[in-house]
Symmetry: C2
Subunit: 244 residues, 2 copies
């Protein structure tokens, strides 16, 4: 009998910020597969289970491994930080599964950093917003720049994922310079680091100041829109415009 595959978004880090559904799916799985940083975060829930840790860029192998384990009858949990969909493993897993004729895959959503980071800062994503990754590993930088400009023109709050990595620095500065051609330097912005993990921080600043922050892999950046305000130490985007 064939097993099944769960693609699970475990949320930002602390298991308290995981959904009950995700925790239940982990508990019902025989094998847990994921990048080591993520499997470490859920070690308590996964006690006694087979844990297969994989490196950062072995996504296709990881998905194929899930399928072969499921075909042996195992229930397999493929874990992602944040949500399973947003820059997560759901899309490669579903694509590879459909190519292999394997259909018993269930995607279990989780809280992505746009939401958990927003809660730390106040409510920057209180109204229309977009999420854009600054990683140009798989997306041409020109397209990223185009999206940033159009999002700024659309007056959307912009949440930036992957502003920096060990091999990419300077991307956030470049992105801010692009946005400064469309948006005012004193626009209310903010950023978070290590959401729901030790050393977590949230900081409010201006768009100009964002250019020179020390971003790393754990940083999530929030660019306000024209309605965003700073009140009582919170970054707030009101839900409507007519009230302003």
């Amino acid at each position: 009998m064939s097993g099944k595959i769960y693609v699970i978004g475990i949320g930002p880090g602390d298991t308290k910020m995981m959904t009950q559904e995700a925790a239940d799916a982990l508990r019902s799985s025989d094998v847990i597969i994921g990048y080591k940083v993520y499997t470490d975060l859920i070690r308590d829930i996964c006690k006694g289970k087979d844990i297969i840790e994989s490196g950062m860029r072995e996504e296709t192998d990881r998905c194929e491994r899930c399928i072969s384990l499921a075909r042996e009858g195992k229930t397999v949990a493929l874990v992602c930080s944040g949500d399973a969909g947003v820059y997560g493993m759901a899309s490669p897993m579903l694509e590879i599964a459909s190519r292999s004729g394997f259909s018993d895959v269930e995607v279990i959503c989780g809280v992505t950093a746009a939401l958990s980071g927003s809660a730390m800062l106040g409510a920057p994503v209180g109204h229309d917003f977009c999420v854009i990754s600054l990683s140009d590993l798989l997306t041409p930088w020109d397209l990223i720049e185009k999206r940033l400009k159009l999002a700024a023109e659309a007056d959307l709050c912009i949440v930036l994922y992957n502003p920096a990595s060990r091999t990419r620095s300077g991307h956030l500065k470049k992105a801010c310079e692009v946005m400064l051609t469309k948006l005012p330097p004193n626009l209310p912005c903010g950023y978070t680091k290590n959401i729901a993990r030790s050393g977590s921080t949230a900081q409010i600043c201006t768009l100009k100041e964002l250019c020179s922050i020390d971003a790393d892999m754990t940083t999530t950046v929030f660019i306000g829109n024209s309605a965003t305000i700073i009140r009582g130490g919170w970054l707030i985007t009101p839900r409507g415009y007519k009230t302003k």
Copy 2:
């Protein structure tokens, strides 16, 4: 002694899709305040607590009530469906709290429909995306149209919230017609209804077909981008472009 206010995103509906943190905050609260449809969803967790149900458009009153209860020493939970931030109560609550000089407010994030609906359809929000509400109660329709056009030009996946209500019909059709000026009629799209509640459904269709679906208050709409594909019954946006 003054109490505190939690603004809690309870997720899409089923309490299994709530985070542990949200459930803990509800359990530690003395009073639960929210729109009746939402407080009904969490009645089991809130047994024995004071529940104050309020109508749809009494947001300011609800926030002021929270503050006066907290000033009496109560721990108050203000509940929102989905996330606390995204079109939720976090922004009015923080704004009113800061105006009143009340600072002990904590925002507890939750899974928003862009994530839970995406998981039902596959992985439409696998890469850069935006969330736009079609409600023109507080946002001028011209601005909504402008955002839709620019988001389509930016080749972002677009998630539409509030495509219809009892008093607003035809907004989704108008929005689709705007997007059809920029996007192909056969673009892979999808929609969900009643996520994580009884009668939940997920349907894949084209942008052209979206024009004439029967949307209601529980509908969340997903517009793919140029990379979005349909495979094995799933709607998938790949994580990168170079692999295509």
